[in-house]
């Protein structure tokens, strides 16, 4: 039978209860404000493999977002260059194939001058730089091609002996295919670009360079027009060459469309991966939240309960401290 109750037992018990309640209140408070459980390890019972994998995937997806943006930029840039090339080649093809234009010396000269302009702008387009990256240089970071003037001078040298349009075209074609010609004089890039990783298991090859046959064929046709402008051949041979320029431009159309199609499918793949990544991000975000989120309703209810418990404890402490026999003697 207890006939007395030590003072310290009471104060010790009250102190302990107060400490435990305050710790609980602090935990619930931080859970309410952050919306996340305060002790992740305890909540997950030490098993971090699920949330670790989700965090790793989320940060990977975030990183690939940048890679996707950069790949999109490259693909879109290359696509717009290719469509400009196609457009200008089509215009010139119409011009050179029109007998009213190519039939007269003046008309031919006008078309040739136009071809000279377009050749220069084609070289400029192929040297386009998007966000610090060259579009058609492959693995190199400098411009893909040397300036138009150097190419034309080299071509003039290569075609110096040609007397007929057929010989002239053959000489130009040889120069463009010769490893010591176009590939050495004009091409400044290097190899092909490595496939860009755009997802954990996805990569897209944006490997079209200025060495591509379709681009070379287009440049070949444009350069013949530009050489006409610089006074290549005379008389009937000139107008024959003019007709050949038109024919070559028309013949190269399929190659250019193929190239655009290839690039288009790469763009489609990038867009597809982008959509999938976004969906995955959302799904993973929700899954992560399910793992570490504190139920706001439950937290609020328990916070309220703990607060009222603390108030009760304070009231009890105050009452108990007043209940001393000393005060009544």
């Amino acid at each position: 039978m207890t006939i007395s109750l030590g003072d310290m037992a009471q104060s010790f018990a009250l102190r302990r209860q107060g400490g435990a309640l305050k710790a609980e209140q602090q935990r619930l408070g931080s859970e309410m404000t952050t919306g996340l459980v305060a002790d992740t390890g305890k909540h997950l019972r030490g098993g971090f493999s699920g949330i670790g994998a989700i965090d790793a995937s989320l940060s990977r997806l975030e990183a690939y977002r940048g890679a996707l943006a950069s790949a999109t930029m490259l693909a879109e840039g290359a696509q717009s260059v290719l469509s400009s090339l196609t457009e200008m080649s089509d215009d010139l093809a119409t011009l050179f194939s029109d007998p009213a234009m190519s039939g007269t010396a003046a008309g031919l000269n006008g078309a040739a001058a136009d071809a000279g302009q377009r050749f220069r702008s084609a070289i400029g387009l192929l040297n386009t730089n998007v966000g610090g990256q060259q579009l058609f240089s492959g693995a190199a970071t400098g411009p893909a091609l040397v300036d138009a003037e150097t190419i034309l001078v080299a071509l003039e040298g290569a075609t110096a002996g040609a007397a007929t349009a057929a010989e002239f075209e053959a000489a130009v074609a040889t120069w463009f295919d010769d490893p010591a010609g176009y590939a050495t004089v004009a091409w400044q890039g290097e190899g092909a670009r490595a496939p860009s990783a755009i997802g954990a298991r996805e990569s897209v090859a944006l490997d079209i360079t200025a060495m591509d046959p379709a681009i070379r064929d287009t440049l070949k046709a444009l350069s013949m027009g530009a050489l006409l402008d610089r006074g290549a051949l005379d008389g009937a041979a000139r107008s024959a060459l003019g007709e050949r320029v038109g024919a070559a431009l028309i013949a190269g159309k399929d190659g250019r469309i193929d190239l655009q199609t290839r690039l288009g499918s790469a763009e489609a793949r990038i867009a597809q991966v982008q959509t999938r990544s976004e969906a995955e991000r959302t799904a993973l975000g929700i899954a992560r939240n399910d793992m570490v989120a504190a139920d706001p309703y439950e937290t609020a209810v328990r916070f309220e309960a703990v607060s009222s418990q603390i108030e009760t404890l304070h009231a009890v402490t105050a009452r108990l401290s007043k209940l001393s026999l000393v005060d009544f003697l």
């Binding site: 037992a9 949330i51 940060s59 492959g138 970071t141 570490v292």
Partner: protein, 428 residues
């Protein structure tokens, strides 16, 4: 004659009342003293009439105190283990960019960025710095782990010193209690002091107190190693200077515990297991090396995955372009070649799972240890409350004081009345 006897009896009542008041004031003054045993006067009637103080009774529930000591030792041990594991878990980091998993993701992110624009020197430098941050974090965890071992070592050394000093003190107190007790002096204060001293040892090693009679106690660990029996035993421990990974008791670089020169096991029969001292040994010799081994496995895995890239071997730090162009390249290459970077990226598959594994290993143990600590603390608290309930209750003391006051007044009234009777006698 009987009037004189009445006077002497009343005077003994006054004396006892004064002593009782003294005792009460002593109790009230020590109402908040830890380890103070409630005192009460033992009274008996005198053969010659009147009342006499036969002694002072000190109330202490030895069985309860013994249980509380063992519970305290267990709570301290569980608390130390939980605190250690929590510290390591924090140093690894649970979630976010500062955690080990976050650092691995950071390196992966930097590699993805660099691979998408391999010509960018800034992005290659970012890979180098992310790699450096990851390696630094691993080093930081190693430092924390070895620091915890060092702390445990220091803790063991100071605990051993404290136990040895306390045992010597107890030997001395036992002797004084024997002498003072035999001479009939009040040994209450010495008993209080002895109880507090035993409590100091009890948080390190769970103890059993054995009553040797004549107010003497012997101390034995819960598992049966004798620490004090007349003579105090001497615990031995050699503190190591700086602890580095790989130092262990087996290799001879770290010291074990001895009792009077003989090895003292930390678990099993005849050992010193179950308390904070054993927990510190467990941290130093088992828990921290286990955490370190898991971390070392991860580190070796990490370095193997990046072998030949120069990322963790210093070459890339000076020349970040080597990550893109390889260690054999004579000069920076064209800049658009991401194949090596993509190779490193695919080589990282599963690395974040390995990082998470390191964390989960520690975290699982931490959660278990905290649950155990919460349980043993609750048990120790319950026993402590039970022990404190037997302590000083000021209300009871005040009640006693009221009675003492009444008794004193009554005895004084007796003297006054006897005086009046004597006066009446003298006035005849």
């Amino acid at each position: 004659m009987s009037l004189t006897a009445a006077l002497s009896i009343a005077r003994s009542g006054l004396t006892v009342s004064s002593r009782a008041a003294e005792m009460t004031s002593q109790n009230v003054a020590n109402a908040l003293t830890e380890g103070y045993g409630l005192r009460e006067l033992a009274l008996s009637s005198r053969m010659t009439g009147g009342v006499a103080v036969t002694g002072v009774t000190r109330f202490a529930d030895r069985a309860l105190i013994g249980d509380r000591r063992i519970a305290d030792a267990g709570a301290a041990a569980d608390g130390s283990v939980a605190a250690f594991l929590s510290k390591i878990e924090k140093s690894i980091g649970t979630t976010g960019a500062g955690s080990l998993g976050g650092m691995v993701s950071g390196l992966e992110t930097a590699l993805i960025d660099a691979a998408s624009q391999p010509q960018s020197d800034a992005r290659l430098a970012a890979v180098v710095s992310a790699g450096g941050a990851l390696a630094g974090h691993v080093r930081g965890i190693t430092d924390q782990t070895q620091g915890a071992r060092q702390d445990a070592e220091t803790g063991i050394a100071s605990a051993v010193d404290e136990i040895n000093a306390a045992l010597k003190q107890l030997e001395d107190l036992n002797a004084r209690i024997a002498v003072d007790g035999s001479q009939g002096r009040d040994v209450g204060a010495l008993l209080d002091q002895r109880q507090q001293t035993v409590d100091r040892i009890a948080q390190h090693v769970p103890l059993r107190e054995i009553d040797r009679g004549n107010g003497q106690i012997a101390l034995m660990t819960k598992d049966g190693a004798m620490l004090l029996d007349g003579k105090a035993a001497q615990l031995g421990f050699q503190k190591a200077g700086v602890i580095v990974p790989g130092m262990s008791v087996e290799s001879g670089a770290l010291s074990g515990l001895t009792l009077n020169g003989q090895p003292l096991p930390l678990s099993g029969a005849g050992g010193a297991g179950g308390g904070n001292l054993a927990a510190q040994f467990a941290i130093r010799d088992t828990l921290a090396p286990e955490a370190q081994a898991a971390l070392d496995t991860f580190d070796a895995d990490l370095r193997a995955r990046f072998a030949g890239t120069g990322l963790f071997t210093g070459e890339a730090a000076a020349e970040p372009w080597r990550l893109r162009d390889g260690l054999d390249a004579a000069a920076p290459g064209a800049g658009g070649d991401a194949s090596r970077l993509n190779g490193m990226l695919s080589g990282m598959a599963g690395l974040s799972a390995a990082a998470t594994e390191v964390l989960s290993g520690v975290s699982t143990k931490r959660v278990t240890a905290e649950a155990a600590a919460a349980f043993s603390t609750a048990r120790a608290d319950t026993l402590r409350v039970a022990e404190l309930q037997g302590g000083v209750d000021t209300d009871t003391e005040m009640q006693k004081l009221l009675m003492i006051e009444q008794a004193y007044a009554a005895n004084a009234k007796v003297i006054q009345t006897v005086d009046a009777m004597m006066q009446a006698l003298l006035g005849i």
